[in-house]
């Protein structure tokens, strides 16, 4: 697939008056394929919104290049970029009704009135704003404005769709359905899209690939299942996934064909060489200290497991149990989709399998191995 949007070594430095400058985006390079949906995900201040604003043209780049459909755009005005956008600050035009606002986005397309009306109706149905099409922006709720703004972007034919927290203000009930519909629309029409979110649920649900940012730098850019199964570093490992990955500092001890991970003030997890193969052992190398991790839903509970731990909390959320156990002075969380009957204070058997183990360098935090394979 050919790249549609391409960022090369993009930097953004802010110089607030009277304060030291802020390096918000650092040497960011990434390519978005034609028809691909990409999420920029990170906590506040990670650089994701600055990146999106540079793509849309609301911010200048401090350095680097941005191309869209083989055309350099980083110096072009927003309107000249052939980008459709839904931004929080990019508000609806107050003197026009919602319908007129959405139709206005199509004006330059020289479509027949019937075609404009059909397209407005279609996108309004998708985001469920048909009943308010003839209202004015200041008479509708924040969530409705957000959907109207989204509709105005989606109705256009553009080379790129740029969406800022597209469902941030919507009720959870509507959000789940809208995500499915939006994904279907974007995929059916191969609409190349890039959106910002701080909510990994949203990123997971919509995006083909997710760019995880932190400290202005791209940490990893990969599909959701890769971020989950092969996180590039400890930041991504503990940021992606709800609840977060369990991680522990451990000493590595070799003992008679076994590799032992001895947790500080805690148990020791041992794996035979048949379980923890040469590839992983080589990745660990001569390190005496590593960080090991296991995802909560991969922790095995029940008889036959090697270790036991005291239950600190056991919470049933209707469709899953979250069991927290005291391990090495911290909490080890196990998630089960079946209801777990274990009382607080009870000792329960648990285990970690070699195939579910993630191993990280203790200093650089870079991943060394995931399951049976080196990182």
């Amino acid at each position: 697939m050919s790249a549609s949007l391409s960022l090369r070594a993009v930097d953004k430095v802010y110089h607030p008056r009277g304060r030291s400058s802020v390096h918000a985006v650092k040497a960011l390079s990434m390519e978005v394929d034609r028809g691909e949906i990409v999420a920029l995900l990170g906590s506040s201040g990670c650089g994701k919104t600055s990146t999106l604003r540079m793509v849309a043209g609301f911010e200048d780049v401090s350095a680097g290049e941005i191309s869209l459909a083989n055309r350099r755009i980083e110096r072009l005005a927003p309107a000249a970029r052939n980008v459709a956008m839904a931004f929080e600050g990019y508000s609806l035009y107050p003197p026009l009704t919602v319908r007129e606002n959405i139709a206005f986005a199509l004006k330059r397309g020289r479509l027949s009135a019937g075609e404009v009306s059909r397209r407005v109706q279609e996108v309004a149905a998708l985001v469920e704003i048909e009943p308010i099409l003839d209202r004015y922006p200041n008479s509708i709720s924040g969530g409705q404005q957000q959907r109207a703004s989204l509709a105005r972007a989606l109705v256009r034919d553009a080379a790129l769709y740029v969406l800022d927290e597209p469902m941030g203000q919507l009720e959870p009930q509507l959000r789940a359905v809208l995500r499915g519909r939006l994904k279907r629309l974007l995929k059916d029409r191969a609409m190349t899209s890039i959106f910002v979110t701080h909510d990994q649920t949203e990123a997971n649900a919509l995006a083909d690939r997710i760019a995880v940012m932190e400290g202005g730098m791209l940490q990893q850019f990969a599909p959701q299942h890769v971020l989950k199964e092969r996180p590039a570093n400890l930041y991504v490992a503990t940021f992606i996934g709800e609840p977060p990955m369990n991680v522990f500092d451990a000493s590595v001890v070799r003992d008679d064909g076994r590799t032992m991970f001895e947790l500080d003030n805690g148990p020791s997890f041992g794996f035979g060489d048949n379980e923890l193969g040469p590839e992983v052992r080589q990745a660990i190398g001569k390190r005496r200290r590593v960080v090991i991790g296991v995802r909560p839903h991969r922790v095995v509970l029940g008889n036959g497991s090697a270790e036991t731990a005291r239950v600190v909390s056991n919470q049933w959320l209707g469709d899953q149990s979250h069991v927290a156990m005291a391990v090495a002075g911290k909490l080890l969380v196990a998630v089960s989709h079946a209801r777990v009957r274990a009382a607080i204070g009870e000792s329960v058997p648990y285990g970690v399998r070699a195939q579910d183990l993630h191993i990280f360098d203790v200093d650089t935090t870079v991943a060394l191995a995931h399951g049976a394979r080196a990182a």
């Binding site: 906590s43 359905v177 997971n204 709800e242 977060p244 919470q315 209707g318 909490l331």
Partner: protein
């Protein structure tokens, strides 16, 4: 008034209006000693108002609040012996976090060494030990919130009111606190009313969850029962991620057994729902109670799988039935082959099915021993 044997907090028929806006309309709730009740409901339903009435910050228009068996009407906030942490932090700006927390104890003339020990301990539990020397403006919102929480907890209050104390805390820490807070509260032994807007937090933290809807407590029950046996549609739809599907149906008796038509298929309901035959109903289907099956089968509905959206360790499937009505299903676990959009069949787990009266929204309670069809 003589002390009588009743719950630690007993609220009877409470009313409160602001101008013409009736917020609480005859609310009743009782909370036992040492119990954690999470108060949950959509925003704007009056959860914070209820806490303020309990704390004595506002007077009620009508109704009675009994605290520890005594009528608290007219008793000012500082005489109610209640610990509070509200959303707006209300920390003293000129004091360090340590002094803010300690302020709850110094007023009671506790020994200085004892105060220091207690402050350190509660700060460790709430993971703010490293910022005790900071002033409020040097704290993040999450740290301010935990400082306010620490101040409320340090005095071991026997009644504690918490207004969404984890709201501004980042997701990871919020999750940790969700696991640890119940044990912490139990150790203090307080009777707790905890306001939250997050259903998972409500279920995880509460011994019981009180659902506030339309000015009253619609249901106060254990988390498991609230989820599995909601009293009405309003309660049911507040829980679950995604929330339950609601579909208009009209059960009929076919060969003596209740049955509905759904997406062109005839679905047999459990016999215990026989009494619902002939009434307009809403069928409530939890997404995790819907299962894709291979090919047509009795009771399976032909659907179009529109989109697959991953949700943590689950996948959410958007399905449309004949006629275009949408259903959300969710499935746990990893699949070797990701599901692709296209025709599919879905079956309903009868144990998770809920049925409501369409008019009133009340849930049909399935009849006991109602297995007449067998």
């Amino acid at each position: 008034m003589a002390q009588i044997d009743m719950a630690q907090i007993e609220i009877r028929n409470l009313h409160k209006s602001f101008k013409d806006d009736a917020v609480l309309k005859g609310l009743s709730l009782s909370v036992d000693k040492g119990e954690i009740v999470t108060l949950f409901g959509p925003s704007g339903t009056g959860k914070t108002v209820l806490l303020r009435l309990l704390a004595g910050i506002h007077p009620q228009d009508a109704g009675t609040i009994f605290l520890r068996g005594r009528d608290a009407t007219g008793s000012p906030p500082d005489k109610r012996g209640i610990g509070m942490a509200f959303q707006n932090f209300a920390l003293f700006p000129h004091m360090t976090a340590r002094d803010n927390i300690a302020s709850a104890l110094t007023a009671r003339k506790t020994d200085a060494g004892e105060i220091a020990r207690k402050v350190e301990r509660v700060a460790q539990l709430l993971k703010i030990g490293h910022v005790l020397g900071h002033s409020p403006r040097e704290l993040s919102n999450g740290q301010k919130q935990r400082t306010a929480l620490a101040r409320a907890l340090v005095a071991d209050p026997d009644i504690l009111l918490l207004d969404d104390p984890l709201r501004n805390v980042d997701a990871k820490l919020r999750y940790e606190m969700r696991l640890e807070l119940p044990a912490l509260l139990k150790r203090v032994g307080s009777t707790v009313v905890y306001v939250t807007q997050d259903f998972k937090e409500a279920m995880a933290l509460g011994d019981r969850v009180a659902v506030l809807l339309d000015g009253r407590i619609a249901q106060c029950d254990t988390p498991a029962r609230i989820y599995a046996e909601p009293v009405n549609v309003g309660v049911a739809r507040l829980f679950g991620d995604p929330t339950l599907n609601l579909i208009e149906v009209a059960p009929q008796l076919v060969d003596g057994a209740p049955e509905i038509r759904l997406g062109g298929a005839a679905i047999r309901l459990p016999a215990s729902y026989a009494a619902a035959a002939g009434s307009p109903c809403l069928l409530g289907l939890r997404p995790e109670g819907l299962r894709l099956v291979d090919g047509p089968a009795p009771g399976a509905i032909a659907v179009d799988l529109v989109a697959v959206t991953p949700l943590n360790e689950k996948s959410v499937l958007l399905l449309t039935m004949q006629g275009g009505e949408e259903l959300l299903a969710s499935e746990a676990g990893d699949r070797d082959e990701p599901r692709r959009p296209g025709p599919a069949h879905v079956a309903i787990d009868p144990d998770t099915l809920l049925l409501f009266e369409r008019e009133s929204g009340r849930r049909f309670i399935p009849a006991e021993n109602g297995k007449g069809g067998s």
